[in-house]
């Protein structure tokens, strides 16, 4: 299916002789535990590259560096990326952990990276010029989620749960702080666990109007099912890590869930077109971060289309970029954070994730 990549001996060490022979790298999990998160990102980037190649004389190749989401493998892979001069941009690294491990290497050599999914706010504070983020970090999404719970849901009591992952714990921490006294209790579950009965008892005994869960869809699906089975009927609020078609597997239990996401709804024509193309290419609806990945790849492809053929120019190009993407206005501040982030609320209705509007 995704035939490109994997045999890269040709480019290694020899350098590229023609400016034509340019590559983009995907850096993140393709196999292993986290493959589920990597797949939409790979497919989003691949869609962008394929669309570019369809009417370009010089084809761009997307090479996949499969970190399996583990920071252990990240430095080795990153050193391999920087050793291949024909790679002039990296879509990734996907997780905050591998970003932290690979970041210094990319910064050292000067390979521009745009991550579509790593949301740890501290990543931008390392002073890496090469670091860019195509989505809002936890610090932008958290307050928006808290505002929604306070102003729109008008929930008087909230229970905050996180999954101890850097994404979930970071987000939940911010929401908890912003909600202040409304928080009636907190609990932390662990990823990969399946039975949350103690947590459910905590929630049913606190009887909150809303539960905020910071984490990914796999645990969210189970948690909401068990909360509903436990007899709790308040509003379940989650963030973009849950905005994935797989969350709908929870069926009736998922109904009414509020999902916050710093991503433009697909009622926007450009986004709708992307969703249609994506579905045509891969036979499924775009998963979490597919659109961000598409945007990230397109920034590099725009640069290549402009005739850029080296990392130095590409880095400058990305730093100065200011165009409308499908998720947001793509422009980075000097730390590499997106300059313009809007957070939208979505809700699960009749087995579909439908947009509700921007959280102001």
């Amino acid at each position: 299916m995704t035939a490109c990549g994997t045999t890269k001996e040709d480019g290694k060490g020899g350098g590229s002789d023609a400016a034509c022979d340019l590559k983009l790298a995907f850096f993140g999990p393709e196999t292993g535990d986290a493959a589920g998160l990597g797949k939409p990102i790979i497919q989003g980037a691949k869609l962008a590259v394929d669309q570019y190649n369809a009417d370009a004389d010089c084809k761009v190749e997307l090479v996949k560096y499969d970190s399996q989401g583990s920071p252990d493998a990240a430095p080795g892979l990153a050193r391999d990326v920087v050793g291949d001069e024909s790679i002039i941009g990296v879509v990734g690294p996907a997780f905050s952990g591998e970003s932290a491990a690979a970041g210094p290497i990319f910064a050292d050599v000067g390979v521009p990276t745009i991550t579509p999914s790593a949301t740890n706010p501290t990543l931008a504070d390392n002073g890496w010029d090469t670091f860019h983020r195509a989505l809002g970090n936890d610090a932008t999404q958290g307050p928006a989620a808290a505002r929604y719970i306070k102003d729109t849901l008008k929930a008087a009591s909230v229970f905050v749960i996180d999954d101890a992952s850097e994404y979930g714990a970071g987000l939940a921490g911010i929401v908890e702080k912003d909600l202040g006294d409304a928080v009636k209790g907190t609990d932390t579950i662990q990823q990969k666990q399946t039975d949350f009965s103690a947590t459910v008892t905590k929630v049913t005994s606190a009887k909150p109007d809303a539960v905020f869960f910071g984490g990914y869809y796999a645990e969210a699906t189970l948690l909401i099912g068990q909360l509903r089975d436990g007899g709790w009927d308040g509003t379940f609020v989650v963030a973009d890590g849950v905005k994935d078609p797989a969350f709908l597997d929870a069926k009736d239990a998922a109904e009414g869930t509020i999902i916050t996401c710093p991503c433009i709804p697909d009622t926007d024509p450009a986004v709708a077109q992307f969703a249609k193309d994506y579905e045509a290419a891969f036979g499924e609806a775009p998963g979490t971060y597919a659109a961000e990945s598409y945007d990230a790849a397109n920034i590099f492809l725009d640069g290549i289309g402009d005739g850029i053929d080296n990392r130095e120019d590409m880095l400058k190009f990305v730093n100065d970029y200011d165009e409308k993407g499908i998720t947001k206005q793509l422009k980075f501040d000097d730390k590499g954070e997106p300059a313009d982030v809007h957070v939208y609320a979505y809700t699960v209705k009749d087995g579909a994730i439908v947009p509700e509007g921007e959280i102001k």
């Binding site: 020899g14 350098g15 920071p71 430095p75 050193r79 290497i105 850097e166």
Partner: protein
């Protein structure tokens, strides 16, 4: 065939033998510069992979003391590795800014102390219980780190200290070119050089040299200990604890010593890993790694230091070399373990003593005409 070659090597005069060893060591040091075609990894940086291999070798040597020499089944070895790594991370970056060369010894001692604290109450319980208790220990360490803000929680710790450069940055004392293997030609790649000894981010070669040196030092120490009174006491304890105790071997003390020594080496490996990585989070210390380490020791031949080195090399290197197999890596690894276990139950390179014992056993079995398979399976 094998023994023929071996006797030829052993009959060589001592200076020649030393020369051969020196040449082998030199080759090992030069490996990341040579980047030999079949051996070098197409999908990841070769020097980084070699570094990982060296760390596995260290870990396997340490675990071999516990499992191979003293016969204690440890399923939580990654815990000591984590303690070494986190001590170094905290002391050089998170809560202090010690120089690395001071932090590593502290990390190693911390791992050793935790080995004694864990071992003192638990080494009195029987073998298989020890397995599950150590497994629990490894998980506890990871979970405590994961859920404690003071230890970085899931966000991890970055900017971990690096070894001091020898020579002035950015060029170092001198530059060593890497080889470039084209189609049928070998060239010195002047663009791709390693600066001697600059511990930068984008070049893993100096880190590999440090790790390799650690492996060689531990290997020598291992040889000394194994041939000493301590080594013989371990062996006696492993073979028959009661008999050893009767002969005046304080078995508990020696088991504790094995545990502490193993933890020492594990902590060292963890510390080196942390500095090369420059970032650690709890993901690098999963239970799965304890299992991989044990696999390295047992596959190679527990009790034989060269065997476990081979085991470590296979376990660390093959998955990196065959990254191309993507989805099927773990499956192939599992199959390989089953096949190895069924085809070479003693490990690839069993210790000499086991080979002799096996031969003796076979002779006895032939005399007795079979029966009693169960008893030996429990040995």
């Amino acid at each position: 065939m094998n023994t023929g070659l071996k006797s030829k090597v052993t009959s060589l005069p001592k200076p020649v033998k030393i020369l051969i060893w020196l040449l082998l060591a030199l080759l090992a040091y030069a490996l990341p510069l040579l980047e030999p075609p079949i051996l070098s990894t197409p999908d990841s940086d070769f020097a980084s992979v070699l570094f990982t291999v060296s760390i596995y070798c260290l870990v396997a040597l340490g675990l071999n003391i516990v499992v191979g020499y003293a016969g204690l089944l440890d399923l939580g070895y990654v815990g000591f590795y984590a303690i070494g790594a986190y001590t170094v991370a905290i002391l050089t970056s998170f809560h202090a800014s010690w120089p690395l060369l001071l932090a590593i010894p502290v990390g190693v001692v911390a791992a050793m102390v935790s080995g004694i604290i864990l071992g003192a109450p638990t080494l009195r319980v029987r073998g298989d219980y020890l397995a599950i208790v150590t497994l629990g220990f490894g998980e506890i360490i990871r979970l405590v780190v994961l859920n404690t803000e003071w230890l970085g929680a899931s966000k991890g710790i970055n900017n971990i200290g690096r070894p001091p450069n020898v020579g002035d940055a950015p060029d170092g004392l001198f530059e060593l070119p890497h080889l470039f293997w084209g189609n049928g030609t070998v060239l010195l790649d002047t663009k791709d050089t390693t600066k001697f000894l600059i511990f930068g981010y984008s070049d893993a070669v100096p880190f590999y040299w440090v790790a390799l040196t650690a492996v060689i030092v531990v290997l020598f120490a291992d040889r000394l200990i194994k041939n000493s009174r301590v080594g013989r006491a371990w062996e006696a304890t492993r073979e028959d604890e009661d008999a050893a105790e009767l002969m005046g071997v304080p078995t508990f003390k020696f088991k504790l010593l094995a545990f502490a020594t193993g933890a020492f080496v594990g902590g060292l490996a963890g510390g080196l890993f942390a500095t090369q990585q420059s970032f650690i989070n709890p993901q690098s210390f999963l239970l799965l790694f304890s299992i991989l380490y044990l696999a390295a020791v047992v596959v190679g031949g527990q009790g034989n230091r060269w065997g476990v080195l081979i085991g470590a090399f296979l376990v660390a290197y093959l998955p990196e070399r065959f990254r191309g197999f993507e989805d099927f890596r773990v499956l192939a690894f599992g199959l390989a373990l089953v096949l190895l276990a069924t085809l070479r139950p003693q490990g690839l390179l069993p210790p000499r003593r086991t080979v002799r014992a096996k031969q003796l056993e076979q002779e006895l079995d032939e005399l007795e005409e079979g029966a009693g398979g169960e008893e030996t399976a429990r040995a």
